[in-house]
Amino acid sequence: MSIELGFALYKGLYLARRCEEYIVRHYPDDEMKTPMHMSMGQEAIPVGICHALAGKADILATYRSHAPFLAQTGDHGRFFAELHGRVTGTADGKSGSMHLSAPEAGMLGATAIVGSNISVAVGAAFANERLGTGRTVVAFFGDGAVDEGTFWESINVASLFRLPLLFVCEDNDYAVHTPKSLRRGYASLTAIVRGFDCLVYEDESNDVETIYFLTREAIAAARERRCPVFFNLKCCRYLDHIGIAPDGDACYREPDDVQSWRARDCVATQRARLIRRGLSEEILADHEQATDRAIEISIAQALAASVPAPDRLYRGVFHETS
């Protein structure tokens, strides 16, 4: 991979990580009054995929959508405005952290009901196929969503209709706090999914470049065969299911498990790789500082922006005709 591309991926990782680190720092100020489901630790997946499909894909995400949103749009300005409940946010401040969207940038929304975005993604892919747009739809969801019946209805119909759809299971092993071992009666998810007429890929690297290339390869193969793709990508949720804290004294997983993932953190890994390839520390540091400043400006602008006026409460409930 070229240094330029590797650097672009790093920029995506850094932005997503840094935005969440600012959330962690500022959340106690109680200016962001919205429950946070943090992506931290899982950034390589959306960054790798969204960069691989840049401009050619629409995505749908879940309540854990900070990283997918930022990877797809890069728009931390509207991101922070939305988290602060301001009119300059993605939805007038009405959606908060769990329902980020930016249709013009190919972010078709995020929902807070586990699994509920998957069939919507099937519909979006169906429209793309019928309209001949040539675009791919990416559905991000967690391993918990696979337990929902709607996942199986969706993978069947996407396979049956041969839709250009990438199912991305961000497999962090936990549905809220329940591990897969307490939720799944079968030995291999991918074995069952392979039983559908689709392409299946697995990866445990947590590495943004690996995921980038995997996506390119898979989408090329899927176009050839005219079928959907299923990705099962292992990852680690650094923080608790909800909120900005690590697990703390919660005993649902071993601290060592998280530590071993942190030891091969996707952001640090990519940074070290770029240094090895000859990118200077100075260039990296400059970019990081510039990003930090830009984020700080976004936060300041969000705080300075207006809160929605009372009439906004009712706007958009029904589809107004003009």
Partner: protein, 314 residues
């Protein structure tokens, strides 16, 4: 419904008689339907009788079975009362559910027929839950859920299969594969193979292709039920079968364009309820008399009254 091994000829006769009873009952329904005395949509089992007959034979009385809206065959195969069934179809107070259930919701808890839902796949989790109760209460029951191939496309089917496999529950999943969901073929609906998928869920699964052969189905079910009773874990049986009538209603619909009559003829060539003319001739008069009595019972039974309208709501 007995552990004593019966004389093979008696057993064949007995199963044949039940299958023929189902066939003749449904043919009577077809005859009666134009007179509008059965004001309830009927989903007929004609062609699929052998599955219900074979599956129910090895079950013990306290084993439970959950059916579907295509449930006449299971109701009768489990030993549901014929008079009460006809009265139910007629909407009379003598019906098994006082005329409130109609054809789609036949039930007979006394013989382990735990109800039938008109919403595809919705009874599958009920069987899993009943099996969970069997486990918690140590009842040694086997719980059967019978469903069509269309039900396997529903999400709740996957949720149920997974839960049964996860907790190792004593459920027998019986897929009656008639190749049709309403009017849609398997190829139009499924990008997977049901039997392979069930196995990948970790559930031992078996396929039978001769869906008219009630003896083979009974033998296969008997073996699976014994395994379930031994280890308490789920099993899966898929039986290829044939729906000879329209999805709902009494008629044939080979002119509708979604399937061809030739399949019917292939089936009929092998259907013992057509081919085994000796047994048919021997058993029909007695069964017909039984159906006559049930029809008369239904006609004589009173209508439910206003007070029945609001009973059993909460």
């Amino acid at each position: 419904m007995t552990d004593v091994t019966p004389d093979p000829k008696d057993r064949h006769d007995r199963l044949f008689r039940t299958a023929l009873l189902i066939r003749l009952v449904e043919e009577r329904i077809i005859d009666l339907y134009p007179s509008d005395c059965i004001q309830s949509p009927v989903h007929l089992s004609i062609g699929q009788e052998a599955v219900a007959v074979g599956v129910c034979e090895p079950l013990q009385r306290n084993d439970l079975l959950f059916g579907t809206y295509r449930g006449h065959a299971y109701y009768l195969a489990r030993g549901g009362d014929l008079n009460a069934m006809f009265a139910e179809l007629f909407g009379k107070i003598g019906g098994v559910s006082k005329g409130k259930a109609g054809s789609m919701h036949l039930a007979a808890p006394a013989v382990g027929m735990m109800g039938s839902s008109a919403v595809v796949a919705s009874a599958i989790p009920h069987a899993v839950g009943a099996a969970l109760a069997a486990r918690v209460r140590n009842t040694n029951q086997v719980i059967v859920t019978a469903f069509g191939d269309g039900a396997t496309e529903e999400g709740v089917y996957h949720e149920s299969l997974n839960f049964a496999a996860l907790h190792g529950l004593p459920v027998l999943f019986v897929c009656e594969n008639n190749g049709l969901a309403v009017h849609a073929s398997l190829a139009e609906r499924q990008a997977y193979r049901m039997i392979d998928q069930a196995r990948l869920y970790g559930i031992p699964a078996e396929t039978l292709t001769d869906g008219w052969d009630f003896l083979a189905i009974a033998d296969a079910t008997d073996a699976l039920v014994r395994e379930i009773r031994r280890d308490g874990r789920p099993r899966y049986l898929e039986v290829a079968t044939y729906r000879s009538r329209e999805h709902v209603g009494p008629a044939e619909d080979f002119g509708a364009g979604y399937r061809r009559r030739i399949g019917l003829e292939d089936w009929q060539d092998r259907d013992p309820l057509i081919q085994d003319t000796d047994r048919i001739a021997r058993l029909t008069p007695e069964i017909t008399a039984e159906i006559d009595r049930a029809e008369a019972f239904a006609r004589a039974s009173p209508w439910p009254e206003h007070e029945d309208l609001l009973s059993d709501v909460v």
